[in-house]
Symmetry: C2
């Protein structure tokens, strides 16, 4: 098998442009490693004439991505267009339907349509691969789906959105409030103008759902990811967490329980000395805990043209070498539709409560928690927050179930002691 693998690229923005650059820069090396040349045959993008700093004259041009996906001179389509539906999905379906391999960085599309696309790939004997969709340059899809294939995964964790980690790191290091750092991140191009996709946790939840499917042999269930963003995190929370030896991260966790699959993407307190607690800046991290390999940790750049192109190249080279493993590790028809875990694993929690600043209030809070079996580990009044008859009270609990905690917080919220909403942040032990 030494014929060239003929590539068609859909989308010539950051990702597609990076792939073109990589294939050109490292052509000789890739040919040696893949055992055959990877040759770009055709490209498609929204705007043909936009200045990209790349010479496209050697490639056939298609205005229509679906037409590119059906070209006879294309064996593999790189879908670098993005978007959950629309032309990216149409082109992916067209390519797979025609028996052409697809390599994509599109987490939104796979989080919503992964099952159907995996089935389409297998029906036509094509490969569908998505290393670039999760954690950029870190080969964590490969580590999970192949490197850990002999293990039962006991817990999968990930810091999968560099923007959130950047914001939290800056808040902690500089004592700058959330809104200011977010504005700065937008100016630097780290965060989208509409930040909800990043800071709301959706982007990271897409990635977690893909990894969970690989880890547990289940159908992708993005709607089953309990997702909370970082916009409720205050400087006081970060400071208090630090005093207790924790750092706050937007952390994804997936675990299989007796009653179903737990998937969460939410701010968590993580031990400051743990690999996740030590993570800084825009770097991503994946932690895999398993029955034989124990804990393995993967760290690297989670986004950007180069890292994303690297991940796409790895998938292309695997396919050129003949790899045909199903998209989610096992045949799509065998992926189980797992129920969603009702409770999940118990955990300790950090609570921030806005309460009336008067005597007897703390006793009422303690009683409300106690009535639900939630026991208090530490309780203190925040030094900086008492004003106008209102006090901020910070509490850490012992291990409890979230539904018990929520019941207690609901009691507190409807009582006469609360002056604002309660914030509860899970403490995830590593």
């Amino acid at each position: 098998m030494t014929d060239p693998l003929r590539i068609g690229i859909i989308g010539l923005g950051t990702v597609g442009g990076g792939v073109l650059k990589l294939l050109e820069t490292n052509a000789a090396l890739i040919t040696r490693r893949a055992g055959r040349p990877l040759v770009v045959a055709a490209v498609s993008a929204r705007n043909r004439t936009r200045e990209r700093g790349v010479d496209l004259s050697a490639f056939a041009w298609e205005d229509d991505p679906v037409a590119l996906a059906r070209r006879d001179d294309v064996d593999l389509v790189v879908e670098a267009m993005g978007g959950e539906d629309g032309p990216a999905k149409a082109a992916t379906e067209a390519a797979l339907g025609a028996g052409k391999h697809v390599v994509t960085a599109n987490k939104a599309m796979l989080a919503h349509h992964g099952q159907a696309l995996a089935e389409a790939a297998e029906a036509s004997g094509a490969a569908l691969r998505f290393e670039a969709a999760v954690a950029g340059g870190i080969p964590c899809v490969k580590a999970l789906g192949e490197g850990m294939a002999g293990n039962r995964i006991t817990r999968l964790m990930g810091v999968l959105n560099g923007t959130c980690n950047y914001i939290l790191t800056r808040m902690e290091a500089g004592g700058e409030p959330y809104a200011e750092v977010l504005e700065d991140a937008q100016r630097l191009g780290y965060a989208e103008a509409d930040p909800s996709f990043d800071v709301g946790g959706t982007d990271a939840a897409h990635k977690l759902a893909l990894m969970a499917a690989l880890a547990f042999g289940t159908r992708v269930d993005f709607d089953g990811v309990k997702t909370e963003g970082i916009d409720q995190v205050r400087l006081a929370d970060i400071a208090h967490a630090a005093e207790m030896g924790y750092r706050i991260k937007l952390l994804g966790v997936a675990r299989m329980h007796g009653d179903g699959l737990e998937q969460r993407m939410q701010p968590c307190l993580t031990p400051a000395g743990s690999p996740i607690g030590k993570l800084e800046g825009v770097t991503n991290m994946v932690v895999l805990e398993s029955d034989f390999a124990g804990r393995t940790v993967y760290e690297g750049p989670g986004a950007g043209a180069g890292p994303t192109a690297s991940a796409i190249a790895a998938d292309m080279i695997d396919i050129a070498r003949g790899a045909r493993t199903p998209a989610f590790g096992i045949p799509a028809a065998q992926l189980r539709a797992a129920p969603r875990a009702t409770g999940g694993a118990p955990a300790a929690y950090y609570l921030r409560l806005a309460l009336r600043d008067e005597s007897g209030v703390l006793a009422k809070v303690a009683a409300a928690l106690g009535a639900e079996g939630v026991s208090i580990h530490q309780m203190r009044q925040s030094a900086d927050a008492a004003e106008g008859g209102e006090a901020t009270v910070l509490i850490t609990t012992h291990e409890t179930h979230r539904d018990r905690l929520d019941a207690a917080l609901s009691t507190i919220a409807t009582s006469d002691v609360a002056t604002g909403p309660a914030v509860a942040i899970r403490i995830e032990q590593l």
Copy 2:
């Protein structure tokens, strides 16, 4: 391809026993992921009757590992016997010669005979895989050979011997001298009774040589690894390094230069805040720096029955799925016999000198260094070390080439100011 993959296991110690246990524990899961069952057909070990806590009655027994490797009912041989030559190599050759796949954890054998064995595998169309030979449970052979296949590797680094990292961590944390911690490590079973393989750096150098071949497409050149152990590292070095913001690690580095391949396994000062500087205990770490993916970091357990079995299982499942990538990523005949880099990259160094405690000595040292163009960054006399007319002087240099430094140290050693050998430890920036 749903026929069982029939496994023969040679060696039933920690590694072989771990593989048996993994295949039994996770049989259903592995069958789903591999697309076919992995069934143990035959086993071989030195002593048939030894109590292993495993029921071997379902497997055919061979006293002779070569006979096992040739059995008609074996498709894949797990070589878990160890040893650079002898029966492990004979059985591996027999298996590959008969067209049977080999999965091995044997770094010594591959470091010395990797080229010949890779050629033998390709001649018969068999796969030869060795994820378990490097960094135990961390899938770093896969990350390097597949995950980073689209990249030019600019620097490969690894902390690849858990025993050494355990000893250095304990020395630093507890202020215990090398000899005491080593004795303790031996008692805990972390270090061999003959510790030279671990603390002398040989074991880690074997692993580095295998990774370098994968990274640079070169023939394995174990003899080309400049190897120094950790036995010269003193508590004073660790303390002084810490004051300057560094920690001492036995660090492997491989890099390709214009004049050839640089491979080193030696104690280095690494920045305390870097991933390698933060590493604790027996954990292993691999850092891959590359032109597109940037820096990716891999961390996990470097040894033990479970992690090693996990790595062997990953290779077996890959083979069951049809993977036939050459052992070192490209066909053995195309691996280049790279010359050895003469100088390597320049670096700053930490120096510990035993000198006469009298005036004028420091000036002579500075002159000797200056004569070779080695410029001093910091120089101080160790507070705890002056006694009996002898002083310990600690120096850090600016970036220099090792041959210049060695020339200067040779001048100092043969002068009348030195009272003992000089120690030079490289400062590796991350």
